[in-house]
């Protein structure tokens, strides 16, 4: 049986999540937790850290931390700096 054409990409319709990442709105398509999100954003650095809605997420719990529509996420890493 053919799917009815309702004028929507079903994958996008069902799985798209709008997040605020580092101050910018960003649509996410295939991630349900923070570890998957880092993969989807192609952030491979072992030296990054994540805060979800102003709370720092332990690096050991990234894969257990679900993301939801409207979440505010900060992803940081080390940069050169002194004082």
């Amino acid at each position: 049986m053919n799917e009815p054409n309702i004028g929507l990409n079903l994958t996008e319709f069902f799985f798209k999540v709008l997040l605020k990442i580092n101050g910018h709105d960003k649509n996410i398509y295939s991630s349900s937790n923070l570890a998957e999100l880092l993969c989807e954003l192609e952030i491979a650095s072992p030296h990054c850290a994540v805060a979800l809605n102003q709370e720092v997420v332990p690096s050991s719990k990234l894969d257990q931390t679900k993301i939801r529509e409207g979440d505010n996420i900060e992803i940081v890493h080390a940069v050169g700096g002194g004082l």
């Binding site: 850290a49 720092v56 890493h77 002194g82």
Partner: protein
Amino acid sequence: MESTQFKVGDRVFKSRLIVGTGKYASFEQTRDAIAASGAEMITLAVRRIELDKAKDSILNFLDPKIYSFLPNTAGCFTVKEAVMTCQLAREAGLGNMVKVEVIGDEKTLFPDNEATLEASRILVKDGFQVLPYCTDDVVLCKKLEGVGCSAVMPLAAPIGSGLGVCNPFNIKLILEAVKVPVIVDAGVGTASDACRAMELGVAGLLMNTAIAGAKDPIKMAYAMKSAVECGRQAFEAGRIPKKLYASASSPINGLIDV
């Protein structure tokens, strides 16, 4: 002859120079200048990853097997920002020793001492080894020691100013007042400033701009390495007291009769 070791928190170093990694022209120059400085502990800042840019990291140029990291809270103006930045740094694998700075004034970059004390208190309770950047104030340094800081880091002069140690007497009073290491942080301009700070007897010296902003950062890094070593050795050797009048260093007896 080697100087005594530099101990801060649970870390032990040969070099008493701590250097920042900011303001360099490239990661390669950062790597080379830091190698020339002989520093074993280096500061890093924590910032947002730029999602749409190539993600080369400064840590690809600074081997964690060689260097001990001291993440800082530069740019933080509140207790909450500073605490969260340290927690993020720890989760990013940068360790639990942190340089806490809570800025209170944009023009001078002088620290907000009240907020620095509060952030330090929270972070010590959270298991961090805290090295706070602070003004050269004896009472404040005693309070920072009292909340469990692993060292105190009074400024020599405003950050990046290159003015040298503006108030050596305050630094000496702080040295008398606290048992934790005193590290002079910020304000050094050239090698003689570094030497003079170390001659006061401080445990260590933290700098960034004096090296990164020099015409030849790598040569200045060498100069600072030598100056810190010279100053420390002179302190350990014990200088002669200053006197108003001369004191001959050749024997007075046995002079010829003419």
